[in-house]
Symmetry: D2
Subunit: 315 residues, 4 copies
């Protein structure tokens, strides 16, 4: 970038104020005029809003991490319900915990001071400071053992659609809302989950077709003119979306990721979005922003902003 160019784009940092009348839109607009992760968060909000307002944009959402146990199931559910997600890729763990909540079980607020040996002796499983009694798995097992599976070779995504349809209607279940709204869910590492283990134990000949999912996902990318992606936490969901986008004619034109991992050790979850340009997964002219933040803080703020912006647009 030649010198004179870069000086032209420089703008003053604005020392912003929060008043009694500040709302989430004003806050994000103020953070846009700062730097570091505050600016990245504001840019991510703006990009996501553009993704929603662009009717051609297909919004791929990659969800890793333990966001359901920690209490963000309904936020994810509402992203789906509001139409902010067109294709969901997630982990088996998130689906297992979603199923647990859909069946009426609850996760618990614990703390990291409690001895894991005591937890073990009480059959309580720990996810950092969130707990889940082991007996929840018995409820899942009971449900799964009675589940009728029409085709043992269907794609995982088809199975997840059936599963969603079999769940109670008034829950805030991710599986359920995806089934209702016919939003495809992919889970490439499905057998790496408590849900899949129960399925494997009770349906010994099950061989859900992972390759059909992979090809279907590539087809979805292939047919997309404007791809937008939001990656929460990285992992297999990130890579599965990214590998498919190599087959998307324009690659992704919008990209957001929220992660606490760092890039230097070379792992995928911490990899910059810029790196994906070299692979042709993200377009050279894409708008993108990586927010280095715990998703439990950043994701509710983004949803809040998007929701307010949609409301504002209607009025």
């Amino acid at each position: 970038m030649p010198e004179k160019d870069f000086k032209e784009i420089l703008r003053n940092v604005e020392q912003f104020k929060i008043s009694n009348n500040t709302d989430i839109i004003e806050l994000i607009n103020s953070l846009k005029n700062t730097g570091f992760n505050a600016k990245r968060l504001a840019v991510a909000c703006e990009i996501y809003n553009e993704m929603i307002n662009n009717k051609d944009c297909v919004k791929f959402f990659g969800l890793a991490g333990a966001l359901v146990p920690v209490g963000l199931q309904r936020i994810i559910h509402d992203f789906l319900k509001e139409g902010f997600i067109d294709v969901l890729v997630t982990t088996g763990a998130n689906l297992t915990h979603d199923l647990a909540e859909a069946l009426g079980y609850h996760h618990l607020q614990g703390n990291i001071e409690i001895d894991d040996k005591d937890l073990h002796s009480e059959d309580i499983n720990r996810i950092y400071d969130v707990f889940m009694p082991n007996k929840v798995y018995e409820g899942i097992e009971d449900f799964i053992s009675k589940l009728e599976i029409s085709d043992y070779q269907m794609p995982v995504s088809s199975f997840l659609n059936c599963l969603g349809n079999s769940l109670p209607q008034n829950s805030h279940s991710i599986l359920r809302v995806c089934a209702e709204k016919e939003i495809p869910i992919f889970c490439p590492a499905f057998t790496d989950s408590g849900l899949a283990m129960q399925l494997g134990f009770h349906h010994q000949n099950l061989n859900l077709n992972h390759f059909k999912d992979m090809l279907e996902m590539i087809n979805l990318a292939w047919d997309t003119k404007n791809a937008g992606i939001c990656i929460v936490g990285g992992g297999v969901p990130k890579n599965f979306i990214m590998q498919s986008l190599q087959f998307c004619p324009n690659s992704a034109t919008y990209a957001i990721q929220i992660t606490m991992d760092r890039p230097e050790p070379g792992g995928l979850s911490g990899a910059s979005l810029k790196e994906a340009i070299s692979w042709g997964k993200i377009n050279e002219r894409a708008k993108y922003s990586t927010v280095i933040s715990d998703a439990t803080i950043a994701l509710p703020l983004i949803f809040w902003y998007l929701k307010k912006m949609q409301e504002k647009k209607k009025n």
Copy 2:
């Protein structure tokens, strides 16, 4: 902790919702029912609010990092103005940048793609994605060279008070509001700053008394019944507050820190607040919360919550 005890304290994680009517108080209350850093942030908000409402509480605030250049000068200023801070400990860098803004200069929104060699040839200094033209230092030098210093051996905190009084009244300067409201500012590593270098060049016999500051800070802690601390980013401001609190009769009874550093490598900035209990810096029964977050995201949210809570209390 005996088993039956810990089971009694467990509560359900609440899958919370964000609606069109959500405000910052409702959001923080919702996050309180989750886990990970969202809960930590909510607990930090609640603790800080209690610190404010407890009239006996002396609120020590440690500020490291580049929060002034990035655009949070006014947020810090308003923490001070609203009475949310009783004693401020900060870095020379923050004071240098505060002075720059008070004198009418601005920091710039840059980006990390611009080549540092090009920046150097244009005399622009980079702080991650925020820039400051080097000529700002000329303005600071001009100001400092004309500054009259009545006593070359006064404590740094006294000098900072004089400095604040010499600044324009209508700015959002941290130095200025501290002087106006007679809030003590300490800067233990003062000579590690551009401001101190200019002072050293123009006032060759200056020997501001750092030891008097140290003893004064210990006296402040000694006289405090209820100490509350908020640490942003760690560093010398954190340790300087902490070492003084060993002399506070009850140690700190409230403690918050916002940091992105991690504890395992043993550095102070990432050290847990719990560790400070062993040193007698934090009381065994203190309420405390460490939020692993970029302060540019967490601090405005905390301020927003506190401001709304104060408003609510008035009505």
Copy 3:
């Protein structure tokens, strides 16, 4: 832990020396007498050595991250060749890059300053500071398109065994050495890889059975008296090993992990090994150590120590 107990276990930190005669065993022994991650690394070395010397111990090794592209293929290969690994769980990406090297292709030392747009226009893919020309995929495609697959419904692990047997003998391939030594390799998220995409394109009816792998892995854990685990980088390989260990009668009795992720945001890769005790994945009395380090630094040191210790044992 009662007070008097903890005081009895305290030992002096030894201020160690490195001399001209220091070897890796002496260094690790010295680091054992320190703290922070140096001690964790030393304890990890000691635990792994004990796993090797315990003939009943089945050593599960979970490998995520980009260790093959970055130049650690041969270190992993030698872990396998030396008998330091009994069951390998890895990612499709590692297998894809292993295949590339086995077929005679090379990864390249790049740097993060090079513009990703320029890389894209030259068809070079970036993994942090390591590059891979895109044409390598053509070589992989050519190889895969000619591959004869005897059974389209075999488990992924069986397919990987066939694949290893079809590779050149004198390479340092992970796939090859596993096939030669009949070490099972599992890849739960296989369809999340360039290798699987080529398979899917050229073998349209392929439906490798992921559920059989899952059940086989559970059987392996079920039959193990002394399980030892080494987790590099976390991800699906970590969870897949961990979920199986719930079915191991004694859970894991030795556990090591090397990761740069942090625990607070609740993701699996950063989760402490202690947390796994609550789930019954790791035994209450297990020896365990998490090393917060880039695996490219820690893993060669661990291998070097183990190799020297084995040599010493022979003499």
Copy 4:
């Protein structure tokens, strides 16, 4: 960088091997042919070795963190003794702990499971997993109360020289070896330490001159043709060296830093060395490397490499 240029510099990643004959020089040379932090560590070793072999190079070393308590006092001591450091900048905490060890006290290997309340009731202070009995401070107090200070207005660095000379000769003390070898030590945040508190209590009129240190450090930089820097952990020592280097005619021509902090939140400790080029602190053509690693792992490896290289050079 034009396209054809970057392709010319690309070299193959070498899949390296560790054998029974591997020594630290071979390991580092092998890591040089990889990527991620392994390569950064190897490059740092190579740069430091060049700094030592370049007789014109003045080697500035910034030491933050708790490396003395954790057991690296002797490694730092030997860096100084071997002539690998010409100017040391450190924290008051490191000096306090150095003094404790010099007076015959020891730090203890603890663990993070022990309750901080129990530690407090036993008067044991915790630094992550390293402990120090509080009674050590009594020994320091006893020593300090008897110390004769010839000039209450001398620079901190002069005081530290006197202090070093007053310590037992056969210790592995950093203060002692600096005094013996007349290596200047600077401690810009000296009053932020247990040592300074004891001084302040027992020498009420003490006003060590911090400004003279600042100016002396600038003079040292001013007179340096080839500056090399090694930064461990960041903090005030990093900034104090960096601010002085703005006055060094060629800025730093070699630069290494070892840190676990990340750059995105804008703090100094995690700031890239490249950023310092914009400020004129590091030369545009400097050789530099940041190693993202716990210093307790990286620093002994670097010392080991340097020591072996010096030995090799002699033979």
